[in-house]
Amino acid sequence: MRILLALAALLASLPASAASINIGQSQILPDNSSGESPYLNAQHTPVPQACRLLDLNFYVATPRGQMYLGVYANAGGKPGALLAATPIFTSVAGWNKRTLAAPPQLQAGAVWLAFHVSNGNQVMRWAALGQGSVSVNRAFAPLPANFPAQQFPYAFQWSYYGTCETPPSVPPNAAPGAPAIQFAKFGTMRFAWDYGSEPIDGFRLYVGAGSSGCPGGPHMAVPAAQRTATVTHLAWDVTQRAQITAVRGGSESGCSNVAAGKPN
């Protein structure tokens, strides 16, 4: 009994691992396919539920040259914007698995799994399946951000699928601790200055604790017509020093006198 209770406690403490599903054609299809260069292909792939696409897997019977893999959003029944793509890689015989550096979040519906091969002698596997695929004549290059419009349809799909991580089925397994709260107090100060009527582009108001930072430090830009400015979020009860300059055509005047005060 004690062992059973310990086992139950152990199981309850384990994280709920996210499940995953395969989208696309994960079986090795019966017919050989070659002559796919210089074509960019994308096959229609249903997404049964929202999930995060982790990797792409493409089956090659006889490898030749290099490949790009990627996934496009579905836009009105056609491939649209590129959601993720792999860097170029040299294909090998069997399943070519490529993990996506930035796994895209997919919504339930459909996407288009795309590939581009550099060599038309590479042999892959395909069959007439699903809603088929589309193809465009395009020189071998990284996948474009948007799938080209000049497409022609195929009835076939290749052995090509993605692993998609589905959301956890249980809420977070432990509540956060009671929050600790630490308040910091801030004040607001208002500054005013005189200036003649000489045309200028504006002022720079420098405010800082210890030193105003004038010139060259962080500052607030103030329009030329203004003669007051309010600075917020200043540390409470800390002496602030302020100086101001006038600016015209990229040239800055000398710093004014220092005005000091505390927001308290």
Binding site: P15, A16, A50, P167, P168, S169, V170, P171, P172, N173, A174, A175, P176, G177, A178, P179, A180, I181, Q182, F183, A184, K185, F186, G187, T188, M189, R190, F191, A192, W193, D194, Y195, G196, E198, F203, T228, T230, T232, H233, W236, A242, Q243, I244, T245, A246, R248, G249, S251, E252, S253, G254, C255, S256, N257, A259, A260, G261, K262, P263, N264
Partner: protein
Amino acid sequence: MHIKITLAVLVAVALSLLAVAGAQAASFDAAVSWTDNSTNEEGFRIYRNNVMVGTTATNVSSFTDVGLAENTVYCYRVGAVNAAGETQGPETCAATGTVLLPPAAPGSPTIIYIGKP
């Protein structure tokens, strides 16, 4: 040459920054932190007085809430969230400080009687 003249004029016209015109009301920031006890959260929600005021990403267990008023009690609660739901933790309350201004000075005393009792 034109630039040199401009600079000279700007420097010559001394900017006079006047004394601080007056301090304004204080505001407060709250640094809120908590213990991350879950292993499958996708982020946290931060509630102030039962209203969500912010979120953080997975494993980020601190948040700064800005623009709070003085002399006010604020209660914070944090919820761990993922796609399946939310698990909330206990609430903590604290008050921002009070700024007590000194009372106005009384008027000068008036002598109303001099003499023997």
